[in-house]
Amino acid sequence: MFKGMIHKGALSALAGLLAVMLILPCLIPRFYVYLIASILVMALLAMSLNLVVGFGGLFQFHHGVFYGVGAYAVALLITKTGLPQWICFVLAPFAAALAGLIIGLICIRLRQLYFAMIQISLGSLLWALAFRWYDFTGGDDGIHGIPMPDILSGIHNSYYFILTVFTLSIIGLFFILSSPFGITLQAARDNAQRCEAIGVFVRRHQLFAIVIASFFAGVAGVLFVVLEGSVFPDLLFWVLSLEILIMCLLGGWFTFAGPIIGAALMLSLRSFIGMQTEYWTLILGIILALLIFFLPQGVWGYILEKVKSRKEAVVEREA
């Protein structure tokens, strides 16, 4: 589905979009710059989740943990070790990937709901630790005022940094999904038994996918710290994990760009509706229920379907 995306028209459209993103901060108020930056962070997190859920078919129900581990890792490395910040930025995603490896090793023995439940319990253990270990993690207050390199001071600078890392990560994810690894992962999602019969060690494959997804979730965690300068236990809480699942659903499971659209829609709705009413979660719940009933393929998935059926109609007419 994304193979078709690389043709020239799409490529120039993407380049145009990137150019708009680059000049946007000069045109809009700071609040919107901040909003777009936080959308990019969430979008990266949701895309990393979609790698394992949409393309890998795994019940990764507590993906937020790896985001939290990445964020806490960078916060703790900066405040406790005194290593240069840039090194901490690089190390933190690997910490998240390591967490992914350990949790993945325990979960991957099981399937579906069991997989999900064990992942949720292990994640909750980490959350409880971050929540209570005041001396180390700051407990439920979290860690605030994490010093950032001077070059990242100010919302505009961090916006450009986040945009750069986001773009690179998306390209990385795109390559991974169109690589032999990515195609085999999707084959294992469609039919694990068949995939084993053609010589693929499916569980090892899926474990790699979890580690890769955790790595990118860790990158998103680092970007969160760059944007906010603080961490708190909610980053590891299961509610966040379910929220990013909703973003994937909102955008469309089996599409590459779906989670970006989902994150953008959800965060914009939250900030605009959240300004009008204190019952944002009620509205979110209703939106989610409507989606499940009427648009299970997601907004982007729906658009792609329409475009495709129109194309096919054109082809048929010509034939």
């Binding site: 439940m117 292990l122 909750s124 270990w133 204190e278 989610l288 499940i292």
Partner: protein, 297 residues
């Protein structure tokens, strides 16, 4: 660390009893969750919200009727109200999704959780609420030379009563037997010409009733706040996982492990007390990844 030695043996026993009485509440809630998981194969994320509604409804019954009569009535009316809410949600919306994939069912219960959570805020407001136990359950009794809260003793009695009632339901009633069969093999139940949708509905409503009962029972022991749904649902899930998905007695074992390790934690390392049960869960899962008792699926 020798904090344990600063406690006498009777304090230890007391602490364990408190843990056990907390286990009873957890058992009632997670048994409901387990029933739904077993029959519908859906982790009902809204379970915590229904528990919260149970607690707030108990508060309303207590305020309107008052006195000890209010309390005893709240134990019946609040869970019934919760059952009614869940029945409406199930018949109006949820039952149309049974043919869909699991993830959609789970996300729907999440949607329900979001909606119900804000509904509580809408109807009951954000203020802190509390319920007082009737006089007969106030104060404490002396056990092993130590004062022990009477209400906890009451919980220790009510837990087994509910457990026995649930056992009767599952093993002695027709609906219960069908639900049990549906948990093991739903194809077969469908083949017998039983309306599976109604079996699901019954199991869902009874499971939610138990959540409401747990909420009503917990009301006098703690302040009622809007976050209480988030706190309980994760614990209930973990209990169900370590007990064995869908196994009601597994829920009992899991609750006991959870309650007792938590009270041990309170004695040994108060700051990390909430971590103890989680560590216990992880240990159980590493050695028994499918839970301690036989899971139904």
């Amino acid at each position: 660390m020798d904090t344990a030695s600063t406690y006498g043996l009777s304090e230890l026993a007391m602490q364990l009893l408190v843990g056990l009485s907390r286990s009873m509440i957890l058992f009632i809630i997670s048994a409901g969750l387990s029933l739904i998981l077993g029959v519908l194969r859906v982790p009902n994320v809204a379970h915590g919200s229904l528990y919260m509604i149970g607690a707030f409804a108990a508060f309303t019954v207590n305020t309107v009727i008052g006195g000890s009569l209010g309390f005893w009535l709240s134990l019946i009316l609040a869970p019934l109200f919760v059952a009614l809410v869940s029945f409406a949600a199930e018949r109006a919306l949820f039952c149309h999704l049974y043919e869909r994939e699991h993830l959609m069912l789970l996300l729907f219960t999440f949607a329900l959780m979001l909606i119900l959570g804000d509904m509580v805020k809408l109807f009951w407001g954000v203020e802190y609420k509390s319920v007082t136990a009737p006089d007969i359950l106030k104060g404490s009794v002396i056990i092993l030379g130590q004062p022990f809260p009477t209400y906890n003793l009451f919980l220790l009695v009510i837990g087994p009563v509910v457990g026995f009632g649930l056992w009767l339901f599952v093993n002695k009633t027709r609906v219960g037997k069908i639900s049990k069969a549906a948990a093991v093999d739903r194809m077969m139940v469908g083949a017998l010409g039983i309306n599976v949708s109604w079996v699901f509905c019954t199991a869902f409503v009874i499971g939610c009733f138990l959540a409401g009962l747990g909420g009503a029972l917990v009301a006098p022991t703690m302040g009622l706040t809007l976050g209480m749904d988030h706190a309980i649902i994760m614990e209930a899930f973990l209990i169900v996982v370590i007990g064995g998905l869908g196994n009601i007695w597994g829920a009992l074992v899991g609750s006991l492990i959870f309650g007792v390790t938590h009270s041990l934690g309170v004695m040994l390392l108060p700051q990390f007390a909430i971590i103890f049960p989680y560590v216990a869960v992880v240990i159980v899962l590493i050695f028994w990844p499918r839970g301690l008792l036989k899971s139904v699926w």
